[in-house]
Amino acid sequence: MPEAGLLAILPMNELVFFLNKVVIAGLIIGSVYALGAVGVTLIFGILRFAHFPHGDMMTAGAFVALVLLWMFPGVGAAVGLPTAFVLMPIAMAVTALLAVGLDRMFYRPMRKSGVKPVVMVMTSIGVMLMMQGLLRLFAGTGTRQLYADTDDKDIYRIPLGGRDLVITEPQLMLFATTIVAVVALHMFLTRSRMGKAMRAVSDNPDLARVSGISIDHVVRTTWLIAGALAAAGGTLLALDVTLKPDLSYNIILPIFAAAIVGGVGQPYGAIAGGLLVGFSETLAVFNWSVLLRPMRPYLPEFIEIPAKLAFVPTEYKIVVPFFILIAVLIWRPTGLFKGRVNN
């Protein structure tokens, strides 16, 4: 059979390795970035300032999930899912309220006194430093697990001729949550009265006001959505890896890159941008020698395949979003989805 013949000459082991290391890993980290970037882009669209504490809000959401895990340790075992995932909706609600509270305490007074945009940015940086300090004060600097001892971390192996395609339980939950969040957000923004009002305020705040749209309601809804999505992203990332107070440090830059790449103020752009940045990172650190080695017989003698052949070493992964940012700002400054950079 021709199909079997084709499969035989394909280096399946190496291709599955590529799928695991690039496609699945990229989807996972890209989903986390997308969940964060949607919040950043919504906040920018409505309030016109860069919300730097967003990574810390994600970390805070994960810590809320941890506290809930301590309070109700048996919940997960009862339904056969990780406890932190079962309790995640509560963590999302708590973080959403926390986001509204932060706005009330710090951003709204600034807005009401009509400060310049640069003052809002400074406030945002101040809140970021404060949140990082508070997280360390209460949670210490150590690494924690969001998987309780009673939870099993299921690992699914899909055999693909030799090496297995590996997906873990938290990764599946992350995909599922991201898809549900994206669909729900889309329905909300295009079908609901409040969702349309949010788009109206993002489009033209003055006209929204003279149409009788309450800017305060829209602002509150924006924080609720951004806070809830941040908590989901933070909790799921902490389930997939570990929970550290400095989680946000490694994700805030890619999240901003994702929001800018997608076009600031464009929720769909933020999702696309998140996945793009995620895939770029995994592609950049992938060891391409793995895919070259099976082609050894077909390559000329003088080409030597090095042991490691990646665009950037893994330790320098953080430079990838920088490069994407620079490239986008040079060639397409408004982002892929034409964001509102000009007004």
Binding site: N204, L207, V210
Partner: protein, 239 residues
Amino acid sequence: MPLLEMTNIHGGYGGANILNGVSIAIEANQIGVIVGPNGAGKSTTLKALFGLLTVSEGSIVFDGKTVTNMAPEKLVLQGLSYVPQEFNVFPTMSVEENLEMGAYVRRDSFRHLIDQVYDYFPPLKDKRRQPAGELSGGQRQMVAIGRALMTEPRLLLLDEPTAGLSPRYMGEIFDRIIAVNKAGVGILMVEQNARQALALAHRGFVLAGGQNRFTGTGAELLADPEVAKSFLGGGADHA
């Protein structure tokens, strides 16, 4: 009793006052037109009425109720509606969504009002799924007026509705404004095209330096040689 009575309005944007005693009064179902040179305070008068700048002196009574310095979102509920001169649509939202946003304060069904707007402005019906920002200037203006009509206002405030439009669209927009007025909506508009606008005005107000200079019916102002010479560019005979 007039539908709207603005008496001796003073106000500005925090610095020096722009309005130094403007008075406007129109009856229900009338068309009022404000004309005057650049910087006379025409648009500022509409903004003061619609709560977009602080009135420091004077009073605004609408429908028997004092509404001085009331917030725009509350004035909408009182039966006032405002179309700004520029940036008067939601550019990335469809024509129909723009109209829905006009009806944001309504909790009842407003489908019939959307159809009514399409009756006033038939070109919009074919473009109802298109983003408003992609329309021509004249059609954008139609969306802007349509959005403001969705609250079924008793008085519609229009800030230079024909600014930047081709003569063909200008005539069309004026025709539509008359049609809206015939349907029972009062109009107060600021216009650069003073002659055409005064020709359809029940009440005309000539402002200069933030004060009333001449007030009368549209016909009276067009016939006044003093108004014609100073504000309409040329003698009354050219009208």
